[in-house]
Symmetry: D2
Subunit: 126 residues, 4 copies
């Protein structure tokens, strides 16, 4: 998946505002769900980001086209970890370990077997 950098993403330092990289990798997560014809939320189930470890390595600028690479790192009963990176040409510019919790009614909820299959298919076998 590729992401174009627009004016809305940049700030007055002339580079992408740091928080917007989190939007980019979230888009890739959502697209994995859209690709199978559904939304990340489903009836009463939804996902929230619980924690992230982020490295801002280089900056992107207006017009850049970034590639998002995502990989499943760990799959637990009610949460999973993704490793997500942004690449500009052949250079990594951003990386994040993202912990995502499965939720129902504001409480952690077990990830169903079918959801586990989907996550493995979409992001790799953890």
């Amino acid at each position: 998946m590729t992401i174009r950098v627009y004016y809305e993403d940049t700030d007055s330092l002339g580079i992408v505002y740091h928080a917007n990289y989190l939007k980019y990798i979230e888009r890739a997560r959502s697209e994995a769900f859209f690709a199978i014809g559904r939304k990340p939320e489903n009836a009463d189930r939804y996902y929230v980001v619980r924690s992230m470890n982020i490295r801002f390595i280089k900056s992107a600028k207006l017009g850049d086209i970034l590639e998002v690479r995502s990989r499943l790192k760990a799959l637990r009963a009610a949460s999973f970890w993704l490793e997500q990176e942004l690449w500009l040409d052949n250079t990594i510019i951003f990386s994040a370990e993202v912990e995502i919790a499965s939720m129902r009614d504001s409480k952690p909820a077990k990830i169903t077997d079918s959801a586990k299959s989907f996550l493995r298919d979409a992001f790799g076998d953890a």
Copy 2:
């Protein structure tokens, strides 16, 4: 009401990204509701912007403190018009005429008498 311009609001031209001025005036509309201890949405009623006529007069920059001025221009059965401006020091930099529709279940809904009173109190007698 005053608004501070942060990095998130600016773009690589060094000025506030044009769409963000719409956020600023929306904050002022919401604050009018918060001031009486409620949210703009209420049970099954909510408001949506139906149309806007906007003039971008001057630019704001990082760190600027803008003043929002709002005035009720017209109050109809199921909609109303606000005139909203942004001022930097003694200079107007943005003005918008904003048409807002009262909605229920995705359909226009009459504005109740108590809502009309609130709108007149909050934004002036139209």
Copy 3:
């Protein structure tokens, strides 16, 4: 050009936050420049939105794919007008008349002949 609606674009009413439609049509304007290998800003020249007349017709939701349609309406010495629309399937959901000024050093600047040719090529003959 098509635009996917992500979580970042929606608000707690479950629909796209109104100001974000302005981002979508700005992306289409920038893409017209990227398509010829340049940015909307060029040396000391840049463009700013001077005014907009907007109609919010219907709402878009998470996962929707919107089509942007842009057309040059008027081309003047130092500014031009675009008509830009967002379509969801075969329904128009947003339309805007957008007045854009050519600028140099914070002052209006004539649009060069080559820029006029570009605008006609990219957005239609006005």
Copy 4:
């Protein structure tokens, strides 16, 4: 410093979109500079976020007023670490360790003695 949650900050799950918490804590960093009459960038010097470790603990909703608490954790030659938290009433909802690099011309640059004094004054003695 307190932050009000507006529609622009929320998403269709009815809570603040996760990346927007990063904007909130950045506002607090910028306000520390504004408080002494300057901007975070200064002539040829500026700051960028290099890494973050984030925990999203609870969610905020439309109308909530969040308190930002910031504390200097470590101060090095060309970078520093802040601990930044968001509190809703008496509950912590978000915490981040933020590594910030001092930059000049896209390269790390030593933090001057006066900048170190400022950081200690603004965020506590590290």
